[in-house]
C-alpha cells in the first residue's frame, strides 16, 4: 500500500483553481456563435394558457427565436418530464411538460423561451411577449388542498391528493390503551430552498459533424440527466454527453431534472447554434424545487418512567404542483421518526397534497429534519410533563449498541427493511453532552440571568439512512505518462469528491495525490453513473474507488514482478514507482508499466496479461448506511425583540470511518448553518393565491457569518460493517437535528414564561407573539 491517506487531514486538491478564479462553472463556458436564452414564466399560480403572441418579440433586433411547446420536438410536446422515483403509493404521478401547453399550475412555470444574441436582448424580448391567461382558483396551503371543496390544483384532478399511505408496526392500540401518559403535539415546518450561491445553469451545443449533443448543466446527476434527455429528445444516449463541471453548491434541488435542461438542448439543435441559459436568483426562488412544508399531528404513549410505548399520528406533506421525485420526502420522513429510540409500536398516516406552488423535492435533509423535529419535540414534552431532564428521557429510550443490528420494523426508501447496521447512540449523546458542558449549563444559566440574560439549552438526536444505492462507479487507469486517470459518475458541488476519492486511490496504488487526474460528473468519462444525493458518494463511489484501486494495485504488482524478475511479494508501490525489495532494489515507473500493458502492435501479450492497467468497479450497497448524531444548542434570547443568538453549538456524530476529517468537519459545519437557517430565518412565503412573497435575499434570509457559530465537533467512528471502507454519509447530518435542538433551546431559555414552540422557522415576530400571548411582558414589567 502507498502512504497513509485514508483518515488524514489532507487539504483539498480542488482549492488552488477555485481560489485563483480558474474554476470552470457552466457560465464560464463560452462557445463561438453562442446565443442566450430567457424563459417566459407564468405570473399566475393557476391559469389556463390561452395564447402566446410573439410577433413583437420576434422583430426586435438580435432576437433569433421564440419557442413554445408546439416548437419542441414531437417527443417533448406530449411527453412530460419523467418521474424518476416511482412508488406504488403514488396515485397521481403527475409531472410537467417542459413548456406548458394548456394550463399553468405554479408561478414561474415556463411557457416559452426567447433566444437572442445576448441575455439582455432576450430579457427585453421576453417582456414583449403577450401571453393571455384565464386565471383559475389556486390552492396555496396543503391543509386547504385537502378539503373536499378545495379548488383543484390541476383542473382535471378529482382530488388534490397525490398519495396517501400508512406505515405501521407493533400493536399501536395496546401501546396507547395501557399507557401511563399520552401527549399530543401539532407541529409545522416551513418550506425553504436549496439556495446554492450558483444558480442553475445550462449550456447546450449540437455538433452536426459528429451529431454529438453536449450539455453542460449545473446538476448533481448528469448520468440521470443524459438518460432523461435521451428519452425526451428520442435520441440515442451515446450521442449525448452531459457534463457537470464545477458546480456552485447543490443541496438537493440540483438533483432533479428540470424543464430548462430539455428545452435548451432542443433549442440548440433547432437553431444550430450553442445556447446558454443561466437562472437568475428570482427564477431560483420561483422555479428551483423547495422543501419542508409538513404538518404533523403526533401522539406519544409512555410508561410512568418515560419509556416509549408507542407513537402514532398523521402527517400532511405539501408536494407542490408536480411530483418529479415522487413521494420520496414524505416517505423518508415517515420512516425517520423512530430514530435512535426503542419505539415498540408505531403508526403514521401520511398524505401528500398537491398545491399550486413549485414542486418540493429533497433539500439537504430530505424529510428527516421534519421527522426528527416531531420526535424530539415529543420527547421534550415528555421531559417537561414528567419533570425529568431532557437528556435523561432520551437516555432511557436509546437503542443500545448491543442491540445492533437493529430492525425497526419498517421498509426504508431503499426498498430494504429498515435495519440500523451499526452505531453507539448512548456514546454519541454522552460525547455531545460532555463537549457542550451540559452539566455545567444550569450554573451558566443562573449567571446569565443575574445579568438579565435569558439563555437556554436544547438537544436532539437523529439517525439518517445514507449511502443509498443503486451504485456508483469508479474507473482507475494508469496512463503511459505515469499519471493515474480516475473517472467517476459521482459529482461534486463542493463536497471535495476529488480529494477524498484521490486519497483512497493513492493509498491503494501508491501514487502521489498530484498524479491523479480526476474526472467527475461527465457522462463521457464513465459509462454509468447516478450522482449526488442522499449523502451517498463516500459509500458508493468511495467503495468503488477502493475496489478499483485494489485491482489496479494487483495488476501493477504482477507487471512489475514480471518486469523486474522478482516475486510479487517483493514489490513495493510508492510515489508512482514499483520497486523490488531485493538485490539492488531496481524500480520501474507506473508509466513504463502502463506502456508494457499496452503491448506492441501486432504482437501477442504474455499469457495472463490484460490490455492496459485499469479497472472499473461499480459498488452496489446492499442497503442504506445508517449514521447518527446528537446536537446541543445553547442560545440567548432577547425577550423584548425575540432575537436569538446561538452562543454555542456542539455536534457529536457517527459517520463511520472518516476519510478526511477536514472535509467531514466542513460538511457538518455547513449542514448546521443550513439547519440554523431552517430553524430561525428561512421561510419561503406565499399569499393566499399562491403568489410567492419572498423572491430575493432581502425577503428570504440566509444565515450570515454573524448567525452561525463555529461548532465544536466530535467524531465517534463506529465502522459500517456493510461496505469495505466502513464509511457512512456525512453531508446532511449537520442539518437534520438542528431545528429541533435550537427550538428546544429557545423554549428552555424562555421556560419561566411557559411558552412552547412547535414550528420552524421561529422568527423574532413569532417569539414575541408567543411571549405576549403567555402574558410574559406583564410579568417582566411587574418584576
Amino acid at each position: 500500500m502507498g502512504a497513509k491517506q485514508f483518515g488524514a487531514r489532507v487539504t483539498r486538491l480542488e482549492d488552488p483553481a477555485l481560489l485563483s478564479g480558474h474554476g470552470r462553472f457552466v457560465d464560464d463556458v463560452k462557445l463561438p456563435g453562442m446565443l442566450h436564452a430567457c424563459f417566459v414564466r407564468s405570473p399566475h399560480a393557476h391559469a389556463k394558457l390561452m395564447s402566446i403572441d410573439s410577433k413583437v418579440a420576434l422583430i426586435m433586433p438580435g432576437v433569433h427565436a421564440v419557442l413554445t411547446v408546439t416548437d419542441l420536438p414531437d417527443s417533448m410536446r406530449s411527453q412530460p418530464l419523467p418521474l424518476l422515483l416511482p412508488n406504488a403509493a403514488l396515485t397521481t404521478p403527475r409531472t410537467q411538460l417542459a413548456l406548458a401547453r394548456d394550463e399553468v399550475c405554479y408561478v414561474g412555470q415556463a411557457v416559452a423561451v426567447v433566444i437572442a444574441d445576448t441575455r439582455y436582448i432576450a430579457e427585453d424580448a421576453a417582456a414583449a411577449l403577450i401571453v393571455q391567461y384565464d386565471v383559475l382558483p389556486a390552492v396555496a396551503d396543503c391543509r386547504a388542498a385537502a378539503e373536499d371543496d378545495a379548488p383543484r390544483v390541476h383542473a382535471d384532478l378529482r382530488s388534490n391528493s397525490a398519495s396517501t399511505f400508512q406505515l405501521a408496526y407493533g400493536d399501536i392500540d395496546d401501546a396507547f390503551a395501557a399507557a401511563a401518559h399520552v401527549f399530543t403535539e401539532g407541529l409545522w415546518q416551513h418550506r425553504g430552498g436549496g439556495m446554492a450561491i450558483e444558480t442553475r445553469a445550462v449550456v447546450a451545443n449540437h455538433d452536426p459533424a459528429s451529431d454529438m449533443l453536449t450539455v453542460w448543466s449545473g446538476t448533481q446527476t448528469p448520468h440521470l440527466g443524459r438518460q432523461t434527455l435521451s428519452d425526451l429528445l428520442a435520441r440515442d444516449p451515446q450521442s449525448i454527453r452531459m457534463i457537470a463541471p464545477d458546480v456552485g453548491g447543490g443541496f438537493g434541488p440540483k438533483a432533479i431534472f428540470y424543464p430548462e435542461e430539455a428545452v435548451i438542448p432542443a433549442a440548440a439543435i433547432k437553431l444550430g447554434r450553442p445556447v446558454k441559459w443561466i437562472e437568475d436568483r428570482r427564477e431560483h426562488f420561483l422555479c428551483a424545487t423547495q422543501e419542508r412544508d409538513q404538518y404533523w399531528e403526533m401522539s406519544i404513549a409512555i410508561e410512568a418512567d418515560a419509556k416509549i410505548r408507542g407513537i402514532r399520528g398523521r402527517m400532511l406533506h405539501d408536494t407542490g404542483a408536480f411530483v418529479p421525485w415522487g413521494i420520496v420526502m414524505p416517505y423518508i420522513a415517515s420512516t425517520t421518526v423512530p430514530g435512535p429510540y426503542v419505539v415498540p409500536a408505531y403508526q403514521l398516516e401520511t398524505s401528500a397534497m398537491f398545491t399550486n406552488k413549485v414542486p418540493t423535492t429533497p433539500v439537504r435533509g430530505a424529510g428527516r429534519p421534519q421527522a426528527v423535529f416531531a420526535m424530539e419535540r415529543l420527547l421534550d414534552r415528555v421531559a417537561h410533563e414528567l419533570n425529568i431532564d431532557r437528556a435523561e428521557v432520551r437516555r432511557r429510550n436509546l437503542i443500545q449498541p448491543e442491540q445492533m443490528p437493529y430492525e425497526v420494523g419498517l421498509l426504508f426508501r431503499d426498498g430494504k427493511p429498515l435495519v440500523y447496521d451499526s452505531g453507539d447512540y448512548p456514546r454519541v449523546q454522552e460525547q455531545a453532552l460532555e463537549l457542550a458542558d451540559y452539566d455545567g449549563f444550569r450554573e451558566r444559566q443562573r449567571a446569565a440571568l443575574n445579568e438579565g440574560h435569558f439563555i437556554g439549552i436544547g438537544l436532539a438526536n437523529y439517525v439518517e439512512g445514507t449511502g443509498l444505492g443503486p451504485f456508483e462507479g469508479v474507473t482507475v487507469r494508469v496512463l503511459p505518462n505515469g499519471k493515474v486517470a480516475v473517472a467517476t459518475g459521482a459529482t461534486s458541488q463542493g463536497q471535495g469528491t476529488r480529494t477524498t476519492l484521490s486519497q483512497i486511490v493513492a493509498e491503494q496504488i501508491g501514487c502521489r495525490l498530484d498524479d491523479i487526474v480526476m474526472t467527475t460528473g461527465d457522462t463521457g468519462a464513465i459509462a454509468q453513473g447516478v450522482g449526488a444525493f442522499a449523502s451517498r458518494q463516500a459509500v458508493n463511489a468511495g467503495s468503488s474507488a477502493l475496489i478499483a484501486g485494489q485491482s489496479v494495485r494487483k495488476q501493477l504488482v504482477a507487471l512489475a514482478a514480471r518486469t523486474l524478475g522478482v516475486a510479487e511479494g517483493d514489490i513495493e508501490l510508492e510515489d508512482g514507482q514499483a520497486t523490488s525489495l531485493r538485490g539492488n532494489k531496481p524500480s520501474v515507473g507506473f508509466g513504463d508499466l502502463a506502456r508494457l500493458a499496452q503491448g506492441i502492435p501486432g504482437v501477442s501479450l504474455p499469457s495472463g496479461q490484460a490490455a492496459g492497467v485499469e479497472h472499473t468497479a461499480y459498488y452496489t450497497p446492499s442497503q442504506a448506511a445508517y449514521c447518527s448524531g446528537t446536537h446541543v444548542a445553547e442560545v440567548q434570547v432577547d425577550a423584548m425583540t425575540g432575537g436569538v443568538k446561538i452562543l454555542r453549538y456542539t455536534v457529536a456524530h457517527d459517520s463511520g470511518r472518516v476519510i478526511n476529517p477536514l472535509i467531514v468537519d466542513g460538511q457538518v459545519q455547513g449542514g448546521v448553518a443550513h439547519g440554523i437557517g431552517n430553524a430561525l430565518l428561512e421561510w419561503m412565503q406565499y399569499d393566499a393565491n399562491a403568489q410567492p412573497l419572498t423572491t430575493s435575499f432581502a425577503d428570504y434570509m440566509l444565515p450570515m457569518a454573524t448567525d452561525v457559530p463555529t461548532c465544536a465537533i466530535a467524531h465517534v467512528e463506529v465502522p459500517n460493517p456493510l461496505n469495505p471502507l466502513g464509511v457512512k454519509g456525512a453531508g446532511e447530518g449537520g442539518t437534520i437535528p438542528a431545528p429541533a435542538a435550537i427550538i428546544a433551546a429557545i423554549e428552555d431559555a424562555l421556560s419561566r414564561f411557559g411558552v412552547r414552540f412547535a414550528e420552524t422557522p421561529l422568527t423574532p415576530e413569532r417569539i414575541v407573539s408567543a411571549m405576549r400571548a403567555a402574558g410574559a411582558y406583564e410579568r417582566l414589567f411587574a418584576a
Binding site: 462553472f25 458546480v247 463542493g494 455547513g670
Partner: protein
Amino acid sequence: MGRQATRMDVNGKSYARVVDARLTLADFLRHEINLTGTHVGCEHGVCGACTVLVDGRTARSCLMFAVQANGCEVTTVEGLAPDGKLSVLQQAFIDNHGLQCGFCTPGMLMTLTELLRDKPEPSEPEVREALTGNLCRCTGYAGIVAAALDAARRLRDEAEKPGAA
C-alpha cells in the same frame, strides 16, 4: 441601445471597450474581458459573490455599470495571484478549509483582502461583521473566519520579519 466607450485598468492591465451603457461591471469582467473568476449569485447586491475592488474599495460588480468604472482601477480575484503564487489569504483558505464549492469564494477573498489591508489585527467579531455582505451556503463560515484570522497573523508575522519592507 446606447453604447459608450469605457476604459479601465483591471489587475494592472488597461482595457478599452465600447459597450452597452447598461452592461454591468460583472458582465463586462466575465464576458467582455473573460475574467470569469468574478461570480454572479443574486444580481441584487446581497450575496456578495461578485465583489471586486474598485479603486481599492469593495464594490458589487452586479450593481455597477461597466461605464461607471470608466477611469477606475479594478482588482478581481485573478489579480490576487498574478504570478501564479497564491496570496497569504488564499493559502490560508486552503489550510483552513475556507471553501467548498468555491462559488462565493472570489467575493469572500476580495472583502477580506480589503479588511486585512485596512485592519491588520481584526478580532473574530470584526471578521464576521465584515463578512455579513457575503453569503456562503456551503461552509457555515467557520473555515472562512479561521482563514481570515490565520492570514492576518501570517501577514503580521511577515511584516515583523527583519528586512521586511
